[in-house]
Structure formats: C-alpha cells, structure tokens
Amino acid sequence: MNIDDSTIQIGFTDVNKFYGAYHALNSINLSIPKGQFVALVGPSGCGKSTLLRTLAGLEEISSGTINVGGRTVNDIPPRKRDLAMVFQSYALYPHMNVRENLTYALRLKGVSKEIRANKADEVAAIIGLEDLLDRKPRELSGGQRQRVAMGRAIVREPQAFLFDEPLSNLDASLRVRMRKEIRALHERIGSTSVYVTHDQVEAMTMADHVVVMRAGKIEQQGVPLDLYKNPANCFVAGFIGSPAMNFIPGVIDESGESVTLDFEESPSLPIAQSMQPGRPVVVGLRPEHVELGDAQSCGYAAISISSVEETGSTTYLFSSATPELVIVADGSQQVRSGDVIGVKIAPTNVHLFDPETEVSLSNG
C-alpha cells in the first residue's frame, strides 16, 4: 500500500454528463492517488456506474476533463486507456475457454503465444484456477466466473482496475469471501482500483476512500469511518451505517446546550456543542448508539416498544411512537413488545442537521 504516494493516478475535473435533459453527472471532481482503493457508492441511478463507464471510455462526457496517469483521456477510445474492467455480469467471452479469456487482451496487443501461455498460468495460480484453464465459461460456477473476470483484469497490469458491482451476482457467503480476496489482491498488486457498489458495507470494508453519490452528485467523500462519524448531510448519514440512522425533528432548548425531540414525551437530549436557542433541527441518532436502561432512572427517557426482532447476537427494537425509532441492542436484552424502556444517547453521538438544507450542523 502506497497511499502516501501523492501522484494522482485518476482525476475527474468538473465532469458533467447529460442524457438529453437528464443531468447524469453533475460537476464531478475527484482525485484518486496511485495505489488507492476507492469505492463509489450510492443508491441505484445515482450515477456511480456512469462515472465508472466514463472513466473506461464506454460513455462520453458532456464537459470537463478526465485524467488517467497524467494524460487527458476525454477523446481517447477505451482500448487506448490502459484500464481493466470487471463487469457485473463478468462478461466472459462464451466462445473462448478460460485461458483464451484471460489472455485475450494480450493477444490483441500482439503478445506471443508462449508468453501468453506463461501469463495465463501465472494469473491462474494467483486466482486459484489452474485446473480450469481449458473450460468454457458456461462450465464454471458463479464464483469461478468471477475469478476469471478478475484474472482477465490482473493479467493486463493496467493503470487501474475498474469494478462495476462485481459481487452483486454472488450469494451472500461467497460475497463476503470475495470481498476479502479482492481487497487482499489489491494490497498484493498495489494498483489503483475504482470500485462501484450499491452496498455500503462493501464500500466501507474494502475501500481506503469512499465516495458517496446521489443524483449525479458527490455528496461526500473521505475515509470510511470518517463518513460514519461525521456525515456531511442527512443523506450520507442515512446511507452509511446499517440499520440506517434515525431522524427525529427537534428544537434547541433555551440553554442552547440540549435539544428537545418532537417524539413521544418530548425528551431532552444534551448535545456536545452550543447552539442558538429555539433553532429547529433534525436530530440524527444511530440505532447502535442508543443505550438502554431503566425508564425511571435519571438521564433516561422512557419510550414504549411496539415490536422486537431477535437475531440471537443482536436485538432490534422498534418504538411505537412516530417517527419510528430503531434501536440495536445486545442480544441478551430481555425486551418484549409493549414494554416501556429507558434510553439515553451520549452527547457526542447526537448528530444535528438543518431541517431545510439537510446539511450537518455538528462541528466535528
């Protein structure tokens, strides 16, 4: 890992893309240092795949510039950009066997047959497919196809790897395993990777740098835990973290040091900063930051629980009041629906947002 290497490998400057009147990419600015693993994450239709495809050269941009390895690639066709891409459907060539699939790009470059064969063996060893080189893609399982798709990218030693939701066609357990493998491979090869996913857990666990997108715009980018701790707005706060953050309207108290929630018995929560009294806010509370206690104890607010979901390790509690408050509790908690419990939240875990702009008001 050479994150401190500050050479910018990929750069988007003021990139816009329109499909007719539809603004698919809105003033995208993004710099990716060499060797960094960047995840583009957002709900479907947010433009993350489009952004990746403009980088690959499969889509043209309407304005702005894209740089790869210090070269402006706006008008350079995909084949000359020296980027390798792993597709969601893997896009293995059905009429070629695994060896031919792996070395197709080398064949197009005019690499000799012997070198190609060696390369195929080398890469097959890395991805663990030595025994399958003569098979056709249709004779492989989903996970094996996924590996071939990865191998096809690795064999080229490109400027950067582009991943377009590569794990979304795999079942859950395989997905977790491949997540680790891709990350391990990245660390081993040390190349720049851009990874598109709609799964925030994938983005958070794999990437050095997460870019959250919505409606063609970058909402926030940064180190994964920083996005979790200091979300810039309601959207990022709600998108990062699972289950999603609770949002409850509230008003800052006269002291300016606490906020009264518009919720059940209007409890008052201390906050970590001083705010203008009477200011309306949206209070964001992560389900896992809610501490449970006795409803009668000092500092705890009483709320009644309407339903309980137990998974064994954790228990999800849902309040009967609206907006529904979701609480993630330890699996040992004995709470039943209809119970009234006491909750409190540490002041540093209270996120405040502007009700109009949805921008974070917390200074952190």
């Binding site: 499969l58 084949r79 950009r81 980027l83 891409m85 459907s89 059905p94 197709y104 197009l108």
Partner: protein
C-alpha cells in the same frame, strides 16, 4: 377426471397436427408418385396412390434431355450470389439495427418491414426499367441476384437482428476495454457468437434463392442462363403437357435441398427459436 380430459385433448390435437402435416406433404408425395407413373396412370380414375409399374426411365430421360444440370447450376449460382450479398450487407445492417435505439432506427426497421410486404411481381417492372437503363441486363444473373437480394434482405435482417440482440452488450464493452476497436469487437466477439443465427438465416435465404422464379423469368431472357425454376416450365407446352417429366424434373430439383433441410432441421429450429426463448 381432469387427467382423462387432458389426454383426450392431447390426442385430438395430435390428430389435427397429423392431418395438417399430411395436407402440407401431400403435394410432395404426389410429385414423387406422378413422376413414376405412365401417362395413362396419371389420369386414371380412381387415381392410383402408388404407381403400379414405376417408370424410372422418365428420370433418365429428363436428366439427359432437358439440360437440367445447366439449369441447376444456374440456380446454385443465383442462390449463392443472393446468399452472399444478403449475408455480407445484411449482417452489418442487422447489427446496427440491434445495437442502437432511436427514432431513425425505428423508421428504418419499419421501412425494412414495408419492403417485405411488396410482392416481386409488383417490383419487377420498375427494376427491369432501372436495370435496363444502367446496362445491368447485360449480366442478367447478376441483375437477378441484386433484385432478389433486395427481397430477401428484410427477412434476413429481422432474423439476424434477433440473433444479435441476444448477445449481451457487456461482452462488446469488455472487448473494447480489452483493446478491441468497435469493428474488431464485432468481428472477434459478436460475429462468432451470432454465427448460428446467421448460418440458419443464410440457409433459409439460399433455399429461397434456389427456388426464385419471378425475377429470373423477367430479367433472364437467354435460355442458357436461366435457373431450374424456369427450365421446368419448358415442359409446359400449349398442346402437350408431360406431367411425369415435369414431376421428375421437380423431384431432381428439390430433393437435394429437401435432404439438406431434413438433415439440418434440428439446427435450423434451434437457430430460429434461440433468439426468442433466451
């Protein structure tokens, strides 16, 4: 009770299907039996279902006396030419029509379908005039190939477009990223994958070209360049019609293509339905 009903229904449908097949195949059967009958047996009442004394000599006479080899080579020439022109130009056209979606593509597709509607007998006069004015009638078989290719093209384009549409776009994109140009991706990835569909469509076009009549009859006046479909009509004379010879000629003419069709029918059916089902 329901099960019994279903069995009856299936059996009934099977009988209906058998009847339909028999109806379609009867002319073929009649062609083969008539070709082996004597002149009197042909008009016997009640008709003979099987010839009592098969006249194999008719086949020898037809083979020796009617230039059938020359006629059939002309048919093969025209059919091959039509197939080549249609496949070469049609593949590219159908690929474009399969890959792009906009209003112009819709208009083109509609126009292509419209062309399919126009009957050759309607088109032949303007084509004759046009070809005569540019001197194409000097090469009547080429003229026929061009004229008939215009007729087969829509059919080929529709079939091939369906074949191309089954090929995922991501495969081409992967090829582009891997280092192919657009044309390279078409030749190295798309064409091999659409091969079955194209071959089946080409075979069907060949068969159409092999049996072509209207354009050959109008555009080819030189007897030596005419295809078998025209050659056969030489037996139709004002006063005497030798039905057994015509049928023998027809049998020699269509049996090879029939055999090819039967041998390849599994592939043909696969090729035709794969686009619709996958």
């Amino acid at each position: 009770m329901m099960g019994m009903k279903r069995i009856y229904k299936n059996q009934l449908l099977f009988i209906v299907a058998l009847f339909a097949v028999a109806l379609y195949l009867f002319p073929l059967y009649w062609m083969y039996t008539t070709s082996l009958k004597t002149d009197t047996a042909i008009f016997a009442i009640p008709p003979q279902l099987l010839p009592s004394s098969p006249q194999w000599q008719t086949y020898i006479d037809v083979w020796n006396g009617s230039n059938i080899v020359r006629y059939m080579s002309n048919s093969v020439f025209i059919a091959t030419g039509v197939t080549l022109v249609t496949v070469i130009f049609g593949s590219g056209a159908s690929y474009v029509l399969a890959r792009y979606r906009n209003v112009w593509i819709d208009i083109s597709l509609f126009t292509v379908l419209m062309l399919q509607v126009l009957p050759p007998s309607l088109m032949v006069t303007p084509i004759f005039v046009a070809f005569a004015s540019i001197g194409l009638l000097e090469y009547p078989r080429i003229a026929t190939i061009l004229a008939f290719s215009a007729k087969t093209m829509p059919f080929f384009v529709i079939l091939c477009r369906a074949a191309f549409m089954t090929i995922p776009r991501e495969l081409e994109e992967a090829a582009l990223v891997d280092g192919n140009s657009r044309a390279g991706a078409f030749v190295m990835i798309v064409l091999p994958l659409a091969r079955n569909g194209i071959l089946v469509a080409a075979l069907l076009i060949f068969m159409q070209g092999f049996g072509e009549y209207v354009y050959s009859a109008s555009l080819i006046s030189d007897n030596r360049l005419q295809p078998a479909s025209i050659g056969m009509t030489n037996y139709l004379q004002p006063n005497i019609v030798t039905w057994n010879s015509i049928m023998a000629f027809a049998a020699i003419y269509i049996t090879p293509i029939l055999a090819a069709f039967v041998l390849l029918q599994r592939h043909i059916v696969n090729g035709l339905t794969s686009g619709a089902l996958k």
